[in-house]
Amino acid sequence: MTVIDVSGLAKTYRTAFGKTQITALDGIDFSVEKGELFGLLGPNGAGKTTTVKILLGLTHATSGSARLLGRAVTDPESRRRVGYLPEGHRFPGYLTARQTLAVFGKMSGLDASTIARRTPELLERVRLTGWADVKVKKFSKGMTQRLGLAAALVHDPEVLLLDEPTDGVDPVGRREIRDLLREEASRGRAILLNSHLLSEIELTCDRVAVLRKGKVAAAGKISDLTAGPATGAAYKLVASPVEPQLLDAFRESGADVTAVNGHFQLGVRDVQHLNELIDRARAQGTLVKELTPMRSSLEDIFVDLIRASETDSAGPRSLGGADVVSASETDSSAGPRSLGGADPRGTKGAA
């Protein structure tokens, strides 16, 4: 079931007298399914926050459509089952944690008895039970962030939109938030995570979309984005002894061989090619100690992608196994391509 559906979404900001136009979003598409953890990535100014703001009705789209749980985001009712944690949120400092949940619970339409029942549960989940009756102005950044999560969950939403949820949270707290988000996703909540912390996204999300200059530059499952190239594979080989003749033979077979810190990186055509190389090495008396497929981190993919946009606008680049789309390609109506089952619109073959 698709709970967030964004199609051809565009936003152009105009200055006061309309002389200058800034394109924040240039026709993006993506969707998030029920129970899915979806990450929205991109450098500053890529359009991530604008996307989230449009989904919440904080900003109006110039064109395209965005739907939450089947309702257009222009309808306030679309937000009845949506929880949101904004970046840099400012809960009124004069409220206690308990009052904060009561105010925002009521604003989401909850009655007093439901709020009274949910409040201790949620405060327990975010480890703020002992702080229930302390004013928010006395909270640390991490505590405020955890309270924000509780406030986003107070009305038991089906969709969670989280903007930098681990901002200011210590490593233990971050892990707890990650666990909490996974738990919420396993309960069927769809979660859209907007974060600069790529390692967080990599550890938490199932799928991501990378925004660049207001367009979806790459999208798909993290495992696909970070996998080896689709036309080949890269492996880390630890073996000894390795004679120079053996490396020459590898290269002659078409393998890409690089020595790095006592091990070798092998770029091969396919598994058959890899096995041929290993057979040859073993035939020469080389002992294979370790052979592992190499995967890029999401950060590698992200940095390559952003650098690519600065230096190269030619055709699609293959980065870590998932195709990404250059700026020139996304200008067409075809939208971003992806391999390995990755599709920005999760309903179309992401599985």
Binding site: Y13, K53, L56, G57, L58, T59, H60, P76, E77, S78, R79, R80, V82, Y84, P86, G88, H89, R90, F91, P92, Y94, L95, Q99, V103, F104, K106, M107, S108, G109, L110, D111, A151, L161
Partner: protein, 284 residues
């Protein structure tokens, strides 16, 4: 509905937490206290035989003043003072409602809930009006009670003055909301609203001003501004005329005509509608 009630509650909780409510009522109470302690009247057979103001005996020179007239005169003067004090205090206590709502990090929290923007804004407006009403009722009710306690004279018309003060507050608050939506600044909201308050009072002399200017265009502009802007001076006059009733001189009772009320109401409605429209369209 529950969400809107929560929003109104939040305004009161914020006013209490930020000392606004306390300052608002403390200033009103201070005035009431000074008034209660300052005036001591000696009334004999429905006439004022003697009076003390701030402990000093007033020299009556043997004359006996009709208490009814004395009370009427006092209440008329006080209603004018209340018109100024009530509107100023109400605006100071409520002008922040929109700018603070629109602050980054706050507006996101409110708009991400299933509440329409227009109801959200209007509930804040309503909360501001309730706050002002409570204060005006407190001010008028207390002074009225003290007058009755000290003179045994009951003039129900005095209470009606509060309705006109509240009408003026409602209009000016709509203007403060409009400026707040556009600028997101409490200071500008206050300056702009008080500026219009004073300027429109000056425009009550529009006929003389029109006669004084040499350009016909300028005269028309002054006339147009007079009709567009709220009639703050006339509303003050109307407050006094309401209290005085049949005793009011013709030039004062003229303010009780329907025109100043209609044009002022139109100004307020346009300001509120415009602020709601802009708030609805605004990107945060």
């Amino acid at each position: 509905m529950r969400a809107l009630v929560a929003n109104i509650e939040d305004v009161f909780r914020e006013a209490a937490a930020r000392w606004t409510l306390l300052a608002y009522f403390a200033l009103s109470s201070l005035f009431i206290f000074i008034f209660a302690m300052a005036v001591n009247l000696d009334i004999v057979d429905g006439a004022l035989a003697g009076a003390k103001i701030f402990g000093n005996t007033l020299n009556m020179r043997g004359a006996q003043v009709d208490v009814d007239k004395l009370v009427l005169g006092f209440e008329t003067g006080f209603s004018g003072f209340l018109y100024l004090l009530g509107t100023f205090l109400a605006l100071f206590a409520t002008a922040h409602l929109v700018p603070r709502l629109q602050e980054k990090g706050t507006i996101d929290l409110y708009l991400s809930r299933p509440v329409g923007r227009v109801p959200l804004l209007l509930s804040r407006y309503l909360a501001g009006l309730i706050l002002a009403t409570v204060n005006i009722v407190y001010l008028i009710g207390s002074v009225w009670g003290i007058v009755i306690w000290k003179t045994r004279v009951v003039h129900p018309r005095f209470a009606l003055a509060g309705v006109i003060v509240l009408f003026a507050v409602a209009t000016l608050l709509a203007l403060a909301f409009l400026i707040g939506v556009v600028t997101s600044s409490t200071a500008v909201s206050l300056m702009g609203t008080f500026g219009i308050y004073l300027f429109s009072a000056i425009l009550s002399l529009h006929e003389r001003m029109e006669a004084a200017v040499s350009s016909e265009l300028a005269a028309k502009a002054i006339n147009a501004l007079y009709w567009i802007l709220p009639k703050t001076y006339e509303l003050g006059q109307a407050t006094a005329a309401t209290v005085m009733g049949a005793e009011a001189p013709a030039r004062v009772s003229a303010a009780l005509s329907v025109t100043p009320f209609l044009t002022t109401a139109a100004f307020g409605i346009v300001c509120l509608a415009l602020s709601a429209w802009l708030f609805k369209r605004k990107d945060f």
